[in-house]
Structures are given as C-alpha cells and as structure tokens.
C-alpha cells in the first residue's frame, strides 16, 4: 500500500469538501474492492475519505411506500432487514448473495454501486427495480447512473447518500456465481409492477443493461416459455477464462427463465 492521507469526517458536507480538496481522493466505504487494490499497489490515492462515521449515510426506512437505504448500509444489514424482506424480498436476497460473509459484513450498497464492477449484483437490482440514486447534490435514475466498465455518472467529489427503491409487485434475482470469486458470471433481475416488466442483466457485459427483448416478451406473457425464443447477442459480452461470450449469453436466458419461474 502506498502512503495516503486518511480522513474520517462526520458529515456529508465535510466529506464532499475533503474530496474536492484532495489531489486524487477517494471515498472509503466498506473497502472490499478498494483496500485489496491498494494493498496490491494497483492503485495510488492521495487521500482516503472514510465515510463510516457519517451517520446520515446509514439506515433503512420506508418513505411513503418507497424503500430508502442509506449508502453506508452493509449488505448483511440489507439482507437481514425485516423492512427490506417484507417490502422487496428479492432485494434482500440479492444482498444475501453478494460475495461471502466477510464481504457482506463490511461491503456497502453505496460502495458497491459507486465501484460498478461489471459482475456486481447490486447494479442488476437497482436497474431492475428502477431505483433512484440520491447523491449529495442530485437524483439519478439507475439506468443513467451505471455508465460503463467501472464508470458511473458520479463526479469525483460526489457522494451517494441513499438509494430509493419503488416497490414492485413481484421481483426475483437469479445468478450463476463464479466458483472462485462468487461474483455473478451472469445475474438477471426481473421485476414486475402492474403490466410493466423490467429485466436487468449484470455480469454479461461491460455494464449492467436492460434486456428490452426479454422485457417485451414478458410483458406479453410473463412465463419462462416466453423467453425461450429470445437469443441474446454476445458480441459485446465479456469473455474470460471463466466464461466465454456465448456461454454468458446462454446463461442470460437460463437465469432469466429461472427468475421468472420463481415468480410463477
């Protein structure tokens, strides 16, 4: 690990100010991606702004039917929350499926989405549920938030404060985990609200995406069989030693069908 200056502010405003002043600063949330990267000297940061003392970033609450989760809420807290489990069980299940117990006990919702790993689970849930990301200065629709490989719409000194999740009628997440890392080789989040169906896919491409062909088919007939004829183009997909492009494309259909089947 290279040397850096460490800060632990207690307010969002102080954190944003510290990030703005830093030459090459980075917020530290749960640290589950950032710390290993620093330890391996794959990244060098002038300043780390630890968000763990900012109480306004924590907590889970119901806001008139919308579920609001603070950015510094740990995956384990989301998984165990009675509020989340009753409002959006699929979201609790998604949190429960992240990494391993150690990661879930430290990793946070805000940290995960700000990092935007292409194989992370939360981006599928946020896009699938049509969530809104609230920052220290604005609100961003999930589809506009995740912009590319490890890229988001956040400015360098902008902090995720919370995420607002509208309640779907039904939702399910299915993923095929990488046996080594337990990241999603492919993860598909399906949500149905009224007649509207959203299908979000993580792990397959550079960034989470909505699968419009599947959404159209499911709007027409919300059954696994409706997905059978849909082939997903694999040209832009990730291919690596764990999964080739066409295997990932195949898994998109399998996981989508299983998510829909779970909601029958």
């Amino acid at each position: 690990m290279y040397d850096f200056d460490y800060h632990r502010p207690t307010t969002i405003a102080d954190a944003v100010a510290l990030l703005a002043q830093a030459e090459d600063g980075r917020p530290l949330a749960g640290g589950q991606s950032l710390i290993p990267t620093l330890k391996q000297r794959l990244a060098k940061r002038s300043d780390l702004v630890d968000l763990s003392a900012i109480t306004e970033l924590r907590g889970i609450r119901d806001d008139g039917g919308t579920l609001v989760i603070g950015a510094m809420t740990r995956h384990a807290e989301v998984a165990a929350s009675d509020l989340v489990r009753s409002a959006i069980p699929a979201l609790a299940a998604t949190a429960e499926s992240v990494g391993d117990a150690q990661v879930r006990n430290l990793g946070t919702l805000g940290g995960s989405i700000a990092n935007n790993d292409p194989s992370a689970d939360y981006p599928a849930a946020l896009v699938g549920l049509g969530a809104t990301i609230v920052t220290d200065r604005r609100s961003i629709a999930a589809e506009d938030f995740f912009t590319g490989l490890f890229e988001t719409a956040l400015a360098a000194d902008e902090l995720v404060v919370s995420v607002r999740f509208p309640r779907p009628d039904r939702a399910a997440y299915q993923k095929f985990p990488n046996p080594a890392s337990r990241y999603a080789v492919v993860g598909v989040f399906v949500a149905k609200t009224g007649n509207a169906v959203r299908v979000a896919v993580t792990g397959a491409g550079a960034v989470v995406f909505r699968h419009s062909a599947m959404e159209a088919a499911l709007t027409n007939s919300f059954t696994p069989a409706a997905l059978e004829p849909i082939e997903t183009p694999a040209d832009d997909f990730n291919g690596d030693i764990h999964a080739s492009q066409d295997y990932r494309a195949h898994l998109v259909k399998v996981m989508a069908k299983r998510a829909v089947a779970a909601l029958q």
Binding site: F176, A180, S181, S244, H250
Partner: protein, 771 residues
Amino acid sequence: MIKFGIGQAVPRTEDARLLTGRGRYTDDIRLDRQTYACFLRSPHAHAELRAIETARATAAPGVLAVFTGEDLETDYIGNLRCLVDLKQSDGTPLKTPPRPALALRRVRHVGEPVAMVVAETAEAARDAAELIEVDYDPLPAVVETRAALDPAAPGIWPEAPGNLCFEWQRGDRAATDAAFARAARVIALDLVNNRLVPNSMEGRAALGDIDKTGRMTLYVSSQGVHGLQKQLAEDIFHDKPERIRVVTTDVGGGFGMKLFLYPEYVMVLYAARWLQRPVKWAAERIESFLSDDHGRDNLSHVELALDRDGHFLALRVDTVANLGAYLSNFAPYIPTHAGTAMLAGVYTTPAIDVRVRGVFTNTAPVDAYRGAGRPESAYIVERTVDFAARRLGLDPAELRRRNFIPPSAMPFETALGSTYDSGDFARTLDTALAAGDAAGFPDRRAAAKLRGRLRGLGLASYIESCAGGGPELATLEVGGDGKVTVLIGTQSNGQGHETAYKQIVASRLGVAPDDITVVQGDTDRIRWGSGTGGSRSVPVGGASLAESVRKVIERATPKAAELLEAAAVDVEFRDGSFAIAGTDRTVSLRAVAAAAAPKGGGPAFSEESRWRPPANTYPNGTHLCEVEIDPETGGVKVVRYTVVDDFGVVINPALVAGQVHGGVVQGIGQALLESCVYDAESGQLVTASFTDYAMPRADHVPPIDFHLECVPCQTNALGMKGAGEAGAIGAPPAVINAVVDALAEFGVEHIDMPVTPEKLWRTIRDARAGR
C-alpha cells in the same frame, strides 16, 4: 491410562493452543534489529536479463542493501540443486540446469526472483523494489505441457534440446507388446492431470539470523529442518551443517510444497550474513501463487489390453510431465519413481509398460503435492478401468472385482515390482457400496431427473504407497521427575503428530499425556530426521518412537529391580509401573526415574531409535461419489460421498478422519474447481489470486461418510500403513467417474479435470448436437 491409548479418537492436544491464537508461526517471530526483505520478481515468462540498475533503490530511505544474481556469483554462493539422480532410458543422466537463488542473465518464469531489497521496514523494502530498473529483452515462451515438446517451441535450456529434461522407461515393453497383440479388446484414452497451486493457509516465510561467530540460523515454515540444513550447508554456503541451524515452529499447511529448498531461504541467510542482522521474508498471497512449487501437470496416453472376459492383460502409459522452468528438489522423482510404481493399482495386470518424459516450460517449478505421483497414477488406473467398463458394457464394480488381487495372493508382486503385503480390495469396495447405498442410487437418479438434474455415481478403488524415504530418528527422554520428552525429526504441518506420538508413548509407557512434550523442528535439539512427506511421519516416526519406548523400559528395568530388591529377570513392566512377576509389589516409572536421574541434572533415561521400514506400505480403499449436474448451466455438485479405507493399524481414528476429509476436499478441488492457467501467449499466470483460482469451500462438499476396513500392515512395526494423502488420491477419479456416469445418457465417455461449468455445459451441448 487407556483413555489415551492407541486406536482411540482422542482430541488433538495441540488444538487449544492453535485455535486460541497461541500458535507461533515463522512470521510471528520477531528478533532484535530485524530487517525486512522484498523480492523483485520477473514480470516476463522468458527474457534476457540485460542489466539491473539498483542505485536508486539502494539510496532509498530505510534501505540497507540490494542484491542481484551477480552478487551471489561473486560470493561463490552455490545453486539450488535437484536432489534426484534419474537415469534416462538411454542410460544417460537427466538434464539438471543451474538454478541460482536470484536470476542470472535470463529469467525463465513469471515470478522468478530477480533482485532482493532489504530495508528497515517491509514497506520501505517494497517501495525501493519499485525503483529497481531492469532491462529485459523478452523472448518467446512456452508454458503448456503439450506444447513443450513441439519442435517449434522456444527452447528454455541449451543443455536440454527440445525442452526434454528426461525420457524414462519402466516395466516390460516386450511382454506388454505381446499381450496387446493377443488382446480381445484394447481401450485407449488421453488424460489430463491438471496443474494445481498448493495454497497453504500459512504462506512460506523465512527469517535468517547470524551470531557473532558467524553461525547462522534459519527460521522457516517447512516440513523438516534437516534436509534444508544439509542443502544450505553443503550446496549453498559450503560450510559444515552444524554452522547452520534450522528451526521450524508451527506450520499452517504444506502438502509437500514446504519440503523443498527455495531461493528466498538462501537469500535471507545470505543477506543476514552480509548485514549481520536478522532478515525476514513472508510471502504475500500473490507470491505464493507465483513462486510456490506447483503440483501435478501431467498428460498421459493410456492403453489397456483385456481378454474376452474383461481380465486386464497389459497396460501401456505414456506421460509427459511438466517440471516448470527449473528443477525443484524432487521434481523428476514425482512423475517417475514416486508414481509409476503404483500403475498396477489394485489389479493383477501382468504386464505394464511406462514411458515418462519430463519437460521444461516457462512456468513455476512443479514438485510433490499431496500424494506426489500416486494421485496421478490412481487417476490413470481408476479412470481407465471405468472407461473400459463402459466400453465393455460392464458394471464398473464388476470389472474391478474380476481383476482385483485377492487377499489370498498376498504378498503380491506387481508387474512394476512393488510387493503389496496386505489388502482386501473387494472388502473396501463392498463396504463402500453398502455404506453409500449404491442399491438405492437408481431411485436417487430418478428423483434428480424430476428436478432437472443429472445424477451420477462414481467409484475408485485406489492403492498408494507410503512410509518410504528411509528411517526416522526418535529420541525418548525420561526426566528425574518422570516427565517425558519426545524429540523427532518429522514436522507437523497441522496433521496432529503431537497427539499421535503422545498416544504411542502414553499407551506403551503409561505416562499421562500432559507429562509428555513433543519437540520437532530444531536441528540443534534433534540430531537427525527425514521430515514429513509421503504419509510417513506416524508410520515410520511412530514405529521408531515405540522402539525407543521399549529401550527405555529395558534400560530402566535393572534400576527398578534394584528398588524392588528383586532380580531383573523377575521384573516386568505394565501400566506405567515395574512389578515383580506374580506379586503386587510395584515401583512406578516415576520413582525409578527419580532414583536413576544423574545428580548433575539431565534425563534419567535417554534412548534413541532409528527404525527403518523394510518396505513401503500400501494404504488402499474405495471412494464412492455421487454428483448432480445442472445441464442448463454446467454446474456440478458433489451430493454424497463415502470413503472406506484400509490404513492398517490406526493410532487415532479422529486424526485419520481429518486427514481423509481434507484430502477428499483437495481431490474434489482438483476434479471440479482448481484450474491453474498460464496464458499461452504471454506466459502470465492468469489465475494468481483467489478471485480467479477457485478453492473448494465448505458448501462444495457434502458430509463425508468415512469408514475403516483395516488389514494390519505386515511390514510396519506397528502395523500402520499411513493416511496423510489417501483422500487426495482416491477422490479425483471417483468424482470424474461420477460426472461421466451422469453424462452417460449423452454418450459422453470422458471429460478432463477440472470440470468447470463452461466445460461441462459445452460437453453436454456438443453431445446433444451429436458432435
């Protein structure tokens, strides 16, 4: 007393200490004025080393010294040496290229140490290592086993044309050829034994120290101190062994990988001598991936000849073994002598012909890894038998039974010259089929089908060879206070040797376990030892220890007779006391020891023994595995696992169950998960972290149903056969046989390890498409 006897599943006496953080591992040792080392490692698989500029690193804050290969050359530091003297089939010796502790003029694998920085802190050493400028001229590399012998492959060593280290032959080629010529059926298949990264929980670590007289001490996480001491003295520093002390404290896993001398151990001593200060190095996890010796990595072409009734007539095996870029201590021994002798398996196969070619590649060295050659052989035999059964339309268990060596044929000399002293292979098979409810399998398969899963049943009747490697020295001291000290040259890596040795002493000498201390891992305290490897510690070390116990009793008897005022011939020892035969007059060992203790201190009795096994032992057994496959994703899960082992006499069933569990999990890891991948173009190790290299976890493994069906060993003094590696030997073929069984409906006859999800999915897809 009997509560701690031989054969009882007593809890491990070391666990309270290890599980409450009171273990003392090498990296826990802090010496005064200790310094820290960082190794700069090659980023290239193969490159000319044109120049190394160290001035900026040397001048960096906190840096004490920077060393390169040229420094070692200047100071006449010896090379690390391959300790195996292997004769090729043409009578010439194998090729043994030089291996300096730091690269000289050329690098040959990613992660090879190029320079060493020593600084006041680990951080300063690492910062400075980044300031070293190395001028590399990259060369084409070859990393794949199958590509190494290709005439177009880049050459790694001028003295080894075609990257061939050795070509070696065993068995009877003429008899084998003749048997094949008259065979009713010939079965052929190609098998991959995948490369594995050992991944001990505690990484390698070493701390070098030197005293005012120039005598050096190496603290190192090892599997035995004496072998390292000898090499460091004789090969590296050209000094007397007593001038280098080697100490090993607690060890968190070795699996064979910590047996060997490594460059970093040479360097911490060299640097300590240069600086006259202690120098510490502890591997980061990525260094473990890059620079620990790897395991396995063989390709084998196998042919089996059978008669009309399914009797094996002959076996032909042609193996290419990847040895890496440099020869580690025992590298050429593993795919040759260590493993091939077991190619007869548990069968009567009368003729066997084996050829092994060892090849150099631009990869980390390959050496012994849990089983060391025997898992490779067991995989060849047990996969081939299963493959043949399917081809012949026979039940795999039935084909095995037809060819088993019967107990009545013991001792049995195999076609490759091993003499099995004992074993009842049909019994372990029958017990496994019963315990694992093989009869109920069709119902379980049908139930799985309703859930959309393919269920398969696989078995493997393995045999292996243990307790070789020469004698072990065990010293037993009884103090004037009656307390007992065991000094022994084996080295626990976590197996629980301390408990097993205490059981042997407690049951034979009648001493409470709390009054026994086991000392291992210090060349100053233990005169000699062979170390831990090849499942030999308890079978050989334990037998030596039992002999030392006998000698102590013999030595103490005259003193006891004196105290009892009886003739020595009338005195007998039982349950911790000496008694006049036929009377109730006794005197305790403690009282005898108190009377015999020298006035000036020191033990009352001290006896040593060096029991040499007259032959190898042959642990064997049957593994029965059931898997379920998700055909849509290619995911596979081991859902039921039964093991029946013959380990001969067992000192502690709980310890051997632990060994079997760990071994089976490693075998499942090899069969389904662990894939060590070097990029064929760049030679980079792609799987250099746990993010990409899948280790088995608790949820990959079902409860393991473990049974013992033991036949006492006829050649071991205590009847033991050894248990440390068996799990990892039986599991890979059992798992793959189960996977193939699950896929049988698609006409799939074989799938190579590791059965990763995509590989399995493609196999099913291609089979369905009739490809």
